[in-house]
């Protein structure tokens, strides 16, 4: 007797919950407008005073730009987060309506893009080469929607997709020069996660080019452990994954043992293993961050960070949205360079005082030369 009524109550409760969910859902389309979640950033009145080209921006404004992260998620301290910063900047400065969807596995890529399309997004930004296939398929199926993909370019190009790629070798060359000048033992080291070119190897090659250039200019003989032969795509020191900080730590310990005092780990999160190793050994050594300014994203190791080789994914994403708003034709391959502030090096932060003014001046000269096309990293890969 007793159990049946309570079971009925429970069942009733489920039914009520479902009904409530239905009716709640019925009201929500208006309420769930993404704009309502970020009221301050829309701020149309703050746009008005700027009024650079009031008429045009008022007409062309409010494109709906939507982003799909890869499995790293929107708060990965790395390129997904950086791309989202570019989206938010576009929201604040261009009045674009932005939203994002996170992917938990490769299975989500197509689903998330489809969701954005059915939500009426004008432009879809997919982050990372992992989304290459899903983006291409969606772009072909939806020729009227504009796409941009970070870290990937199609060959042959698709008419409605922008491939945003980064000439990180330019930034890495500056870092290599600065690192070589800092090194006291005259030995540096670099290694990667997985041998994926150019996403990983450009950092390593550019770093080596910077060191070689330093040697040429100053008659020194700073040398590199690990790294790779830029002319041989299959060579190089790689830990084999982008997950294990332990593997990176072991490689770093080996390099420290051999006297290296500047180490560049290229593999997103695994780089933290390098800093852990330097910290553990209390070595008089530094490491470098990649992609974003690690002094800000991994502050616990900021004391060991000479600088970071950065990819301004946020800038490239912002510029892609700007092009879409202006109605420019999609750029099949948009290369971020020092010139368009798409790549570069982070400030030296704690090491500001240890990098001489001479070196800083030399770095600025190098940057100018690279922008002018007089200095090309590939020319300094060594023999």
């Amino acid at each position: 007797m007793r159990k049946h009524p309570s079971a009925m109550v429970a069942m009733l409760a489920i039914v009520m919950l479902i009904l409530a969910a239905c009716t709640g859902g019925g009201e929500s389309p208006g309420a769930s407008d993404p704009a309502s979640m970020a009221p301050e950033s829309m701020a149309p009145e703050s746009m008005a005073p700027e009024s650079e080209a009031p008429d045009e921006s008022a007409e062309a404004a409010t494109i709906k730009a939507c982003m799909v992260s890869d499995v790293g998620g929107i708060d990965d301290n790395s390129f997904n987060e950086n791309a989202w910063e570019g989206m938010q900047q576009a929201e604040a400065e261009l009045g674009a309506e932005v939203s994002f969807l996170e992917s938990r596995s490769a299975e989500d890529y197509a689903r998330n893009i489809d969701q954005h399309i059915s939500d009426g997004c004008d432009m879809i930004i997919t982050v990372g080469f992992l989304l290459g296939d899903a983006t291409a398929a969606a772009a072909e199926a939806n020729p009227d929607t504009r796409f941009a993909i970070v870290d990937f370019a199609y060959d042959p190009a698709l008419p409605n997709v922008e491939g945003l790629v980064y000439n990180t070798a330019e930034g890495a060359m500056l870092a290599g020069y600065a690192a070589a000048s800092w090194s006291k033992t005259g030995i540096m080291g670099t290694f990667g996660g997985i041998n994926i070119g150019p996403g990983v190897t450009d950092f390593m090659d550019g770093f080596i080019a910077g060191m070689n250039y330093y040697n040429e200019q100053n008659g020194t003989e700073v040398r590199m452990l690990g790294g790779r032969d830029p002319n041989n795509p299959d060579s190089g020191t790689f830990t084999g994954n982008f997950e294990s900080t332990d593997d990176a730590k072991n490689v770093t310990l080996g390099m420290l043992q051999e006297g290296a005092d500047v180490i560049l780990p290229v593999g997103g999160p695994i780089g933290q293993g390098t800093f852990a190793a330097i910290d553990e050994q209390a070595a008089d050594a530094v490491g470098l961050g990649v992609d974003v300014d690690w002094t800000l994203t991994v502050p616990e190791f900021s004391e060991l960070m000479l600088t970071s080789i950065i990819k301004r994914i946020d800038n490239s994403v912002f510029q892609a949205i700007e092009r879409a708003i202006n109605g420019d034709a999609p750029e099949p391959v948009f290369v971020s360079t020092l010139e368009n502030e798409g790549v570069g090096i982070a400030p030296f932060h704690d090491y500001e005082g240890e990098v001489s003014d001479e070196v800083k001046a030399a770095l600025e000269e190098m940057a100018d030369a690279i922008i002018a096309g007089e200095l090309v990293p590939a020319d300094h890969y060594g023999e």
Binding site: A10, S28, S32, A106, A110, N112, L130, A134
Partner: protein, 432 residues
């Protein structure tokens, strides 16, 4: 009381009727069992349903607590905050529901408008639920089948990866075949891949007594790295791609969509047929009787002349093959290409599905659709309300927790314990 006495009546009136042809002593027992079956089936649904309800309730609290704007409101305006919390939770769950089943209004009007595009859009959420449910049914069956033999198959994830590797290789290697030859070959290759990966722990268990939990977990790791390696070999890796990604399968090996323009594919039919197959194997075949006997009591089974080794190996091979089918269905029905980490844990979710489905094929199908719906609804939920997709993982975990602790659910909802305990031997612990 009234209910029970009526039940008694039902049984007594039923028993003589069915007893007439055979008129032998065991028949009344059988009739009682069939009468109880309705009741126990209801009970079987009740506990998971209540666990789900409890999980959603806890999930609602998490949604409220993790919303910092709402938390601020609790400080300044508690009464308004109650309303805001309620509407926030309802909006989230409403979006989840609309994302998994669809907007009832839109479904209804689309059915009558006969507008193809509207129909396609209205059925999109259901299609996504089917997409997510397909591999879950197969991995759920894989885990459930092994459970019935007293084996804990933690390796469905690894078996799924092996199946997907075999399927994708079969998919791009054979060129120029008609689809009705090529597709079955590719699907069978998926089964084979998983079966190989199930055979290893099965054989080790039968021959050496190595515990299948340890071996299957370890084989998961082996499979991840095997995939990583295979995807970098010249044979498998796509030309011109530096990253680990396989060649694309031939169009003749693609599992076609149920309806053009929707992602749901005929893999769901494969999965449902597999469920029927597992049901037949377990409850209608001699081998299945042996499987279950070994699962209930290995010593008694051996005394009755059954081979425990055979049952172990055979069930693990079949379980592995089912998980492999899941991998084949995901790859051949989805992207058509293999990349590392494509599975969001279908193999591990299969354990949950088997648990919630009480290791019955029908239960597994129902549970797989439930979790498939949760997963499919999570994407639009995230789009509409900004609720992180992880809330679905939390709810899923809570469901497992509540189901694993039936006493807790009974205590919450004040349900008396079942009289007949132990009819479902779910996991037999480490020593079995």
């Amino acid at each position: 009381m009234a209910d029970e006495s009526r039940h008694q009546e039902l049984e007594t009136t039923e028993a003589p009727a069915s007893a007439e042809p055979a008129a032998s002593p065991p028949v009344p027992e059988a009739a009682e069992a069939s009468g109880n079956r309705v009741l126990s089936a209801l009970r079987g649904i009740l506990l998971p349903a209540l666990a789900l309800l409890a999980a959603f309730a806890v999930g609602a609290i998490i949604i409220i607590v993790t919303d910092f704007d709402l938390l601020g409101q609790w400080g300044s305006d508690p009464i308004g905050a109650i309303g805001a919390s309620w509407s926030s939770v309802m909006r989230t769950y409403g979006a989840l529901l609309r994302g998994s089943i669809g907007d009832p209004g839109a479904l209804f009007s689309a059915l009558f408008s006969a507008d193809w595009e509207a129909l396609r859009r209205a059925f999109g959420p259901l299609s996504e639920t089917i997409v997510s449910a397909t591999p879950l049914i197969l991995t759920g069956l894989s885990v459930a089948l092994a459970f019935r033999v007293g084996l804990f198959n933690i390796g469905a994830e690894g078996q799924l990866y092996l199946g997907s590797l075999f399927a994708v290789i079969a998919g791009f290697t054979f060129v120029g075949m008609p689809w009705f030859i090529h597709l079955p070959i590719a699907v069978a290759a998926g089964f084979l891949g998983g079966a190989v990966w199930g055979f290893i722990p099965g054989l080790l268990k039968a021959r050496t007594g190595a515990h299948e939990v340890i071996v299957t977990i370890m084989l998961n790791f082996v499979s991840y790295n095997l995939i990583n390696w295979a995807l970098k070999t010249e044979f498998v890796q796509r030309e011109g791609r530096p990253d680990p990604i396989s060649k694309i399968v031939e169009p003749s090996a693609v599992i076609p969509p149920l309806i053009d323009g929707l992602r749901a594919h005929w893999g769901i039919v494969i999965a449902l047929l597999a469920a029927v197959g597992v049901w037949w194997l377990l409850f209608r075949s001699t081998k299945g009787f042996e499987f279950r006997a070994v699962g209930f009591n290995p010593r008694a089974a051996r005394y009755a002349g059954m081979s425990i080794s055979w049952a172990t190996v055979l069930s693990m091979v079949t379980a592995g093959g089912l998980a492999g089918l899941a991998g084949a269905a995901v790859i051949l029905g989805g992207s058509g290409t293999l990349s590392p980490g494509f599975s969001p844990g279908y193999g591990f979710d299969g354990i949950v599905v088997a648990l919630v489905g009480a290791t019955r094929p029908l239960g597994v199908v129902a549970a797989a659709f439930l979790f498939g719906a949760l997963r499919a609804g999570a994407t639009p939920m995230q789009a509409a309300t900004g609720t992180p997709i992880d809330i679905v993982v939390v709810i899923q975990a809570l469901v497992i927790m509540f189901i694993a602790a039936p006493a807790l659910v009974r205590a919450i909802f004040r349900i008396r314990a079942e009289r007949r305990m132990g009819s479902e031997v779910f996991a037999k612990g480490w020593g079995s």
